[in-house]
């Protein structure tokens, strides 16, 4: 069970080589297949997550949530997706059409590319990059521009204000996000995500780096534009922020990308702080799914508990609290490492 997906990939490669294909091309086809599987995982995940989000919010508000289509309303998201697919695609007359149309595409491309380095099990990253964590952070910074494109291209005041807010927020929270991960990197001594997982063989980093985890969790919530940090799309004042003018499938792409980012960030948290695919009995890929879903449940729990934070409080919280705390965390971690080395551990 542990190596079932790797075995399948190896079997397919050897089968294609056996058919007379050069190993290089076989590898290329396998890589394309891996991406296809990732896109499939993302889509299925989003369908499950939207249903889960609505159920969680329902239970927290003592409602039932979707319950009409299928068992426990499980097919509700599929029906919604079909509705979105058949809706009219409206491009505003005064919009910057090129930017308006390409923004959701870039957004989803950036979100999908995050998965390249995530080890979805032991030895199951698409690319085992030795600076995987850094790749994750720098790719994440690109989604800012996609939101800015959406806000600017729509030629709508709400879109632009929403985009501006989200850019300000994402730039501010990127710094504590990266700094909080530095503590983990210092202990593991590597930027490679698989190496970081192996470094947690004996002890999960959540125990060694609790402050880093809290900072990461808060900053990630802000990066995802999720509640209580969902000021950029505050419905009560900005209709839907940068997504105001989008309809049908273009809007659905944004939605898909948001949930894709949520899964990616949660999977990263599971990888960095909760030992990745490590766990008893079950295969590693199942463990990482379980851990990711538990972390996403906490994200949802927070979203449906806390009220929205005011914009200036939001920014000053990042600059005046999170960044100093994460810097202090780096300092303490470095001092601790030196201390342990001096003690001869």
């Amino acid at each position: 069970m542990e190596t079932i997906f790797i075995d399948i990939a190896e079997f397919l490669t050897s089968w294609m080589v056996g058919l007379g294909l050069a190993p290089l091309w076989a590898d290329l086809i396998i890589t394309i297949l891996q991406w296809a599987v990732i896109v499939l995982i993302i889509t299925v995940n989003t369908i499950v997550l939207v249903w889960m989000e609505r159920k969680v919010s329902g239970f927290i508000q003592e409602r039932i949530g979707p319950n009409r289509l299928g068992p426990f309303g499980a097919f509700q998201t599929i029906a919604d997706t079909l509705k979105l697919l058949t809706k009219e695609d409206i491009v505003p007359a005064r919009a910057d059409k090129l930017i308006f149309k390409t923004a959701p595409m870039f957004f989803i491309i950036v979100s999908v590319m995050l998965y390249a380095v995530l080890p979805l099990g032991n030895n199951m990253a698409v690319v085992n990059l030795n600076v995987g964590l850094f790749y994750f952070i720098s790719l994440g910074s690109l989604s800012t521009i996609c939101l800015l494109m959406a806000g600017w291209g729509s030629n709508n005041k709400w879109s632009l204000v929403g985009a501006m807010r989200s850019v300000a927020q994402m730039i501010s929270y990127e710094i504590p996000l990266a700094f909080s991960l530095l503590g983990v990197v210092m202990i593991a001594g590597s930027l490679n995500l698989s190496d970081i997982v192996t470094a947690q063989n004996r002890l999960w980093f959540i125990i060694l780096q609790p402050v880093a985890f809290i900072v990461y969790f808060i900053a990630a919530t802000a990066e995802l534009n999720r509640g209580p940090f969902d000021m950029p799309e505050a419905e009560q004042e900005l209709t839907a922020g940068a997504y105001t003018e989008y309809t049908g499938m273009r809007w659905a792409l944004f939605f898909l990308a948001e949930y894709t980012n949520l899964v990616a960030v949660s999977a990263l948290a599971a990888t960095l702080f909760f030992g990745g695919g490590q766990g008893p009995l079950l295969p590693s890929w199942l463990w990482i799914i379980i851990k990711t879903y538990l972390i996403m449940l906490v994200f949802m729990w927070m979203k449906w508990t806390f009220p929205r934070i005011r914009m200036d409080h939001l920014l000053s919280f990042s600059w005046k609290v999170l960044i100093p705390v994460s810097l202090a965390n780096i300092l303490v971690t470095g001092a601790g490492l030196e201390l342990f080395r001096w003690m001869g551990w």
Partner: protein, 172 residues
Amino acid sequence: MSAMIINDLVFVAVAGFTLLSALGMVLSRNLVHSALALILTFLGVAALFFNLGAVFLGLVQILVYAGAIAVLIIFAIMLVMHGDPAQTNRFNPSLGTHLAGAYVAALLTMALSLSIWFSELPQVKGKTVEDAAGMLAQLFMGNYVIAFEAAAVLLLVAVVGAIILARGANQS
């Protein structure tokens, strides 16, 4: 078809993409389009770094240039722009500026090609750098620590200066 040819093909594709987006940036009549094309150019340069095996440098290129500086540029454009965005990047009609531009461009090209021509670039064969980030870190924190720290202090001073400019010096 060998790996070498595929590598060359990838290089040609990435370089073509980079040049095309650079051209788009220069030729676009819309400043915002220009800025976005500039981001594509940055990404193309990052892809060239990847192609050369310098993954870390490529990622720095994405994080710093495409992720942060480009956003700054777009913000600046949006804040100072007025009127029809489609007419913000008009070509300057006067001959003098054309000549001056051509002169600067020629000078830059010459300086670049000369520096490439006269520097020794020993071919590294078969050996790829495994831990580029670690090596860079050791250089920054070892041999070139003074230059590194000086750059850091310079940036800090610039940031503080910018904040003072934005707030106004008279405010307490």
